[in-house]
Amino acid sequence: MIPTTFDYVRADTVEDAIRLLQQSNGEAKLLAGGHSLIPLLKFRLTAPGTLIDISKIGELQGIRREGNRLVVGALTTHHQLHTSPLIRETMPVLADAARVIGDLQVRHRGTVGGNLAHADPAADLPGVALALDAMLEVQSEDGKELLELDGFFLGPLVTALPETSLVTSVSFLIPPSDAKSVYLKYAHPASGYAVVGVCAVVGTDPDGTINHARVGINGVGDVAYRAISVEERLLGQRPSRELIQQAAAHAADEGDIGGDLFASEEYRRHLCRVYTERALEQILLPEGTA
């Protein structure tokens, strides 16, 4: 449990960090909260020559509202997500989901930018972020660009983040004011990571017709994904148990689902359906779930 030797440098600004990344010829890793990276180092599963510490860069902090989006600095910790009044007020599901990440230490150290850029398929934020139409602001030597989170995850721990660039902030779409949302997680009893985590955000017209539906799922697949097949089956419909069951049956359609020691592919698909069903029932049939 001892990493290989590495150099450590601290970046004071985003430009600084980008310059250091460029200088390292792909041998460097960014260190923010470190709660995913350091275990990998200790298992010697990764052996970067240099760690660039970005945890003190002030411009990566902060949570603010911009139009119909919340912009969250990449260094915002899970604990800050959980306790921010602005998040609690506009998208409580993000605050709730942040509360079930790891343990107290992880939540105080782990960051939203690090979590998404690390692309662990069993992490809790990716599904929630997908259900909130997240966009990533990414900065490189060429300047800033915006990437949609949907499509950002390419595989386990692999993303579309260009080399020598870093995530500076994440923005989330504020759901319609009448929308309801929930994140339901089945935690692996050993690791605490999601075996399945389903985030549903659903809005309805005054007559009950579903006018907004987002379902983001992490844990079961190679990458977190949006369950478009579920969303499509909900939109324009009136909620019913039957509708929910029909829609949830497609929860795994977009997932690239595999098995492991704890849960087979078959069981993961099953859990994916059950948890999607439960999430939708909580939102759409709150009194009828007993």
Binding site: M1, I2, T4, T5, F43, Y186, H188, P189, A190, S191, Y193, L261, F262, A263, S264, Y267, H270, L271, V274
Partner: protein, 782 residues
């Protein structure tokens, strides 16, 4: 101060440990100390063709690299220490570092000794080993099959031992009204105490003396064995177990790494430290259980048991670990009939070598497996004859009038009142109401299950005569000295070696009652072969029943001597002295008295002693009990199974234990909580999994589920006290009752919940997927 025994005194140890002032092996820092790291085999079975250590030796900061070949003649193989008689035992000693072949993934192949642990760890990657991989076998039943790869070339069929006990004629089963049979798997678990193993060795080249500080549950056993392995007389070898962060049996065994560290210190003439990484611990420290148990129970339609026959096919791993041979044979086999009157019983155990980490004792060692099979088959029997599992138990439990009771396997159960614990447990859960609730909830589609475990356990090791008869290479008596200083403060020495149990507190309570000295004035010394002449350590729930008894007897001897001195000073006959509450008084003469402290001073100053009384005030006892002790109890578990996902939720857990006289109810309850959650851990979550080619797949805490506090409801504990007649305290053992009782209570509860699905048995751990699939198969009519 009077009657400290039975009082829930808070642990004397805790302020020191909780404020970070413990002294664990890894806290040791000696001048000039070097650090060792072991290179381990990535393969489960391979020939070592070549090892090149040159590059590693050149790495700056590396002092030495040793391979197996370097140690030949300097460090002898480590032997097994339990020669189970009549079992045709084929013991294979372990070389300190692998020689021609590696036999399991994680076996140590080379050691680097360097200026710090980072250099040592880095240099491991500079050692190049050419392996020629060989076919591996990890499952005991496959290993027995013809044509299976041989772990040791000269052990046919990989059969390390074949042991039989008891006899049951075939007619007992052929002519029985009812016979139930079940194949059970008691899966492999990994102990994982909070502190991994560690050792620091220091050699004095002038005197030839060596000290090894290490994580040991039995330093005197380790001294005896390492003395032979290292070629250092016991008189010059000191083993110290400083603070030890748990063991659960894994620190009983004698391993190779500690010996290698000792040798490195001797050869390099500098102290050497090694601390096992958690990743190493998963592979390099003993595993446990891993027994395929086929059980047959015969009986009558009215629910009476008549005969039991058990076959255990046990996975011993690649070598016979120190006491590895005894767990699935003696410890398991003699306890197969459990708490029931079963007139006839027989057992056979196949102990099998495989390419896996060796197995050895783990909290209960054989008794949890024995309890598991009998408690499970009793439930299946009840199902077959259509009776409530409670009624079948009531019908067959050994009645209290029968004690002492000789079992079909020849053990003499010392004392018991089994029905009482059962009735108390039923009351605590309100059994009738619970069954009614279960029925109502079933009608609503909810699955509640109630599981029993009415267990008895063998512990308090034990009479040394018996140890000899069962091939245990050592004695199991215990040693204590109670030393009274001139000021009346007391130091107690014990040959047991506590490592988290709170023994400094419980033994102080015993001495406090005997001497009338406050427990703050009593210190316990343990875990150092230089301070304590001899002893056999802490395992087999023997610390209180054997070690505590020795303490009590030594304290009695101190009182006897002190009385004579008091009588002399008070100018009366010894018979006329009363001693109570720390005061010696003359019978019938109020006010004529001396305090214990005054007599302590008199004894040590020796200004005015009777002619035939020697100075000083201390006494020693070597206590060898006449029998084991047999704690027992009734545990009831209530679970709810999620129909959609198979998740098992614990609703309630009630434990009623009888461990004889309880010295400290607070410590006892702690032991129950710890043991029960560890037992539930095996039932629901834990399990070591190997791939076909011998890779440990569950090799980190990301995959191996250690139970967490949030998984549990509060374990409700009650106790009854049926004293044991075999020691002066009347105490039995409590450390292993939880791991013994809990697994079948949980599994029986889950099977009870699944009864509507006709599911009779599932292998532990009862993961959600297994439970869901079992329901699924039934739903689909398979």
């Amino acid at each position: 101060m009077a009657n400290m025994i039975g009082t829930p005194v808070k642990r004397k140890e805790d302020p020191r440990l909780l404020t970070g002032n413990g002294m664990f092996t890894d806290d040791m820092k000696l001048p000039g100390m070097l650090h060792a790291a072991f290179l381990r085999s990535p393969f489960a079975h391979a020939k070592i063709v070549r090892i090149d250590t040159e590059t590693a030796k050149q790495y700056p900061g590396v002092i030495a690299v040793f391979t197996g070949a370097d140690l030949i003649g300097k460090v002898k193989p480590v032997p097994t220490m339990w020669y189970v008689p009549g079992a045709d035992l084929k013991a294979k000693d372990r070389s300190p570092l692998a020689l021609e072949k590696v036999l399991y993934a994680g076996e140590a192949v080379a050691v680097v000794v360097a200026e710090d642990r980072y250099i040592a760890r880095d240099a491991l990657e500079l050692i190049s080993v050419d392996y020629e991989e060989l076919p591996a076998v990890t499952h005991q039943e496959k290993a027995l099959q013809e044509g299976a790869p041989l772990v040791h070339d000269d052990v046919p069929q990989n059969l390390a031992l074949l042991w039989k006990a008891g006899e049951v004629p075939d007619e007992a089963f052929e002519q029985a009204e009812v016979v139930v049979r079940q194949r059970l798997y008691n899966q492999r678990v990994i102990p994982n105490p909070m502190e991994t193993r560690a050792a620091v060795a220091q050699f004095n080249p002038g005197s030839g003396e060596m000290t090894i500080w290490c994580t040991s549950q039995n330093p005197h056993i380790h001294r005896m064995i390492y003395s032979g392995v290292l070629g250092i007389p016991e008189s010059k070898l000191r083993i110290v177990a400083p603070d030890v962060g748990g063991g659960f049996g894994a620190k009983i065994a004698t391993y190779t790494e500690e010996a290698v560290v000792g040798h490195a210190a001797r050869e390099l003439r500098r102290p050497v430290k090694w601390v096992e990484e958690r990743r190493e611990h998963f592979m390099a420290t003993t595993h446990a259980r891993d027994e395929v148990i086929e059980v047959e129970l015969a009986g009558k339609k009215d629910g009476t048991f008549t005969a039991l026959r058990v076959k255990n096919t046990a996975n011993l791993g690649a070598y016979l670990s120190t006491f590895g041979g005894g767990c699935p044979t003696i410890d398991f086999g003699l306890m197969i009939t459990g708490a029931y009157h079963i007139p006839q019983a027989a057992v056979v155990t196949y102990g099998v070598y495989t390419n896996t980490t060796p197995t050895d004792a783990y909290r209960g060692a054989g008794k949890p497996e024995a309890t598991f099979q009998i408690e499970r088959i009793v439930d299946l029997f009840a199902r077959k004859v259509g009776m409530d599992p409670l009624e079948v138990r009531r019908k067959n439990l050994i009645p209290k009038e029968s004690f002492p009771y000789t079992t079909a396997m020849g053990l003499l159960y010392d004392s018991g009142n089994y029905e009482l614990t059962l009735e108390k447990a039923l009351e605590a859960v309100d059994y009738e109401a619970l069954r009614k609730e279960q029925e109502e909830l079933r009608a609503q589609g909810k699955l509640i299950g109630i599981g029993f475990s009415t267990y008895v356990e063998l512990c308090g090791f034990g009479p040394s005569k018996v140890a000899g008869a069962i091939g245990f290479q050592g004695g199991v008596w215990e040693n204590s000295t109670v030393r009274v200083h001139p000021t009346g403060k007391v130091t107690v020495y014990t040959g047991t070696s506590p490592h988290g149990q709170g023994t400094a507190t419980s033994f102080a309570q015993i001495v406090s009652d005997k001497l009338g000295v406050p427990i703050e004035d009593i210190e316990l010394v343990h875990g150092d072969t230089q301070s304590i002449s001899m002893g056999w350590g802490t395992y087999g729930s023997r610390t209180t029943a054997v070690g505590g008894a020795a303490v009590a007897i030594a304290a009695d001897r101190v009182v006897a001597k002190a009385k004579r001195i008091a009588a002399h000073e008070l100018e009366v006959a010894t018979e006329d002295i009363d001693f109570a509450g720390g005061v010696f008084s003359v019978k019938g003469v109020p006010g004529r008295e001396k305090t214990f402290q005054e007599i302590a001073r008199s004894a040590n100053f020796a200004w005015n002693l009777p002619d035939d009384v020697e100075p000083s005030l201390e006494a020693q006892s070597f206590f060898d009990p006449s029998n084991f002790v047999y704690p027992f109890g009734a545990h009831i578990c209530v679970v709810e199974v999620d129909k959609d996902t198979g998740e098992v939720a614990l609703r309630k857990y009630v434990a009623v234990d009888d461990v004889g006289k309880v010295i400290n109810p607070l410590l006892a309850e702690g032991q129950v909580h710890g043991g029960v959650v560890q037992g539930i851990g095996q039932a629901l979550w834990e399990g070591a999994v190997y791939s076909e080619n011998g890779q440990l797949l569950s090799g980190t805490f990301m995959d191996y589920t250690m139970p967490k506090a949030r998984f549990f409801p509060r374990v409700e504990w009650h106790f009854t006290e049926t004293p044991s007649p075999v020691n002066p305290l009347g105490a039995k053992g409590i450390g292993e009752t939880g791991t013994t009782a809990a697994p079948p209570a949980v599994v029986n509860a889950v099977m009870d919940a699944l009864q509507p699905f006709g599911v009779d048995d599932l292998d532990m751990p009862l993961t959600p997927e297994k439970v869901w699939k079992a329901m699924q198969n039934r739903r689909e009519g398979i």
